[in-house]
């Protein structure tokens, strides 16, 4: 398989957490405007894969490449082009909504965030409200404005729609559509139904490693998968 020329590609990525193999042989290739949905039961490694793609975790095997170059060659360059939204909201009780945005823009190296992005997630009335008074859904929406605060080509979203109401989930879908229309890429791990038209889906359940397979007893469970000596 040669996907070295794809904008963002993973090849046979494997992950081991705490000596426990989580998944292996995950491959994909994304071009600008593409989307990718990760599905799978709890513990199947969706979050770990997203963290590998963000550069927090090193893959136990395989590689992740940007424009054909291994991501680990220039980690800071990779930081600049991706946004990561995980389970944590990163909302400080003492800072207002507007101050959060200004800080997130600064941390990405921008002097200030776009002014009108609060409207995109219906937060403009809350601009001066401190984080401690925000509801769970409002915190989540504030976290999602981070995606719009500064430009980044790759969005890595881990369960982005948790705690969102239907209207806000629709706004998130609109954000994703606009991002991809502008040539951005989005990788979304989710249990919910998030519309990502034309996106590939990877079911992490198909990449799991069963104890039986590890013991080498179950050739049928591991059919078509590479031999373990490779990673």
């Amino acid at each position: 398989m040669n996907d070295g020329t794809a904008r963002f590609a993973a090849r046979e990525v494997a992950c081991i957490r705490g000596e426990r193999p989580v998944f292996r042989d995950v491959s994909f290739a994304l071009e600008p405007g593409a989307g990718l949905i990760l599905r799978g039961p709890n513990g199947s490694g969706k979050s770990s894969l997203i963290r590998i793609l963000a550069g927090f975790l090193k893959p136990a095997g395989g590689m992740v490449a940007w424009g054909g170059e291994n991501m680990t060659v220039a980690p800071e360059a990779h930081n600049a082009r991706c946004h990561y939204v995980g389970h944590l909201e990163a909302v400080k009780a003492a800072l207002t909504v507007a101050e959060h945005l200004a800080f997130w823009a600064a941390v990405k190296g921008f002097a200030k965030a776009d002014d009108n992005i609060l409207a995109a997630l219906d937060l403009e009335d809350l601009a001066e409200v401190p984080g401690r008074f925000l509801s769970a859904g409002q915190k989540r929406r504030l976290t999602l404005t981070r995606l719009l605060a500064t430009p980044a080509e790759l969005w890595l979203l881990d369960e982005p729609s948790v705690t969102l109401d239907g209207q806000s989930a629709a706004r998130l879908e609109a954000m994703l559509a606009a991002h991809r229309a502008g040539g951005g890429m989005a990788i979304v791990a989710t249990h919910a139904e998030i519309a990502l038209p034309g996106a590939e889906t990877i079911d992490m359940a198909n990449h799991g490693i069963s104890a039986a397979a590890l013991l080498g007893e179950s050739a049928d469970a591991a059919a078509g998968e590479p031999d373990y000596g490779t990673w």
């Binding site: 927090f56 090193k58 800071e76 930081n79 944590l88 909201e89 101050e99 990405k108 190296g109 921008f110």
Partner: protein, 222 residues
């Protein structure tokens, strides 16, 4: 990168300013701990004068240590550290910004309180200038060395005790040379050598500790 560096410091200062009494704990602890000595050893002025530099420095050291746990913990627990780590600023510079903010929030108030407490302990006036210089050189070193302990214990519940075990031995040289400088000035033995060693320690901490702390943070973020 400059934006990110100062944005980080500015946010930490703003959080501290809104933290209410929580951000004053360090300096309040310093004042109370020093005030206990006249009560404990008695009000005899000659004795207090003799132990003043040591008391001030030991209390400054313990007060700084108290505040280390907060350097990275909150940002780690609420996910801010992930966002900061995904910025253009290398983690080494993130550590430097956090240590500088920590010094501004804890070290600087200690420096302001120290001369008042020195008067309370009847410290002789020859030592005042050198006390301030030793604090100016020593407390940033404490923040920088402390960043390593804070980064290593990030995400651990009850990391506070562990931090003291990790960091206090490393604080000993700062204590020895800082007190040596102040006493040298008081007894007319000269303070320059001790102050130069303190300055050297600060430069070494500036050059070395960000790498160690950043490596520890990378492990915590895995």
């Amino acid at each position: 990168m400059v934006t990110a560096f100062f944005g980080l410091i500015g946010r930490d200062l703003r959080l501290a300013a809104r933290g209410g009494i929580g951000s004053l704990v360090t300096v309040v602890f310093f004042v109370i701990a020093v005030s206990l000595f006249p009560l404990g050893v008695g009000p005899e002025s000659a004795l207090l004068e003799r132990i003043a530099p040591g008391v001030l420095w030991v209390c400054a050291l313990l007060a700084t240590m108290l505040s280390l746990g907060r350097m990275f913990d909150e940002d780690f627990e609420d996910g801010s550290l992930e966002i900061i780590a995904l910025g253009p600023l290398p983690l080494e510079l993130v550590v430097l910004a956090k240590a500088l903010a920590h010094w501004l929030i804890t070290g600087l108030p200690l420096m302001i309180a120290a001369p008042v407490l020195a008067v309370l302990l009847n410290m002789s006036t020859e030592g005042f200038a050198v006390l301030m210089i030793s604090l100016l050189l020593g407390t940033p070193t404490l923040s920088l060395i402390g960043s390593v302990g804070a980064a290593l214990t990030v995400g651990l519940r009850r990391g506070g005790v562990l931090i003291s075990l990790l960091v206090l031995p490393l604080y000993v040289p700062v204590l020895i040379f800082a007190v040596g400088a102040v006493e040298g000035a008081i007894f007319g033995l000269g303070e320059q050598a001790n102050l130069l060693i303190l300055a050297g320690g600060l430069l070494a901490a500036l050059a070395l500790t960000p790498w160690a702390s950043a490596a520890a943070l990378r492990m915590a973020l895995e």
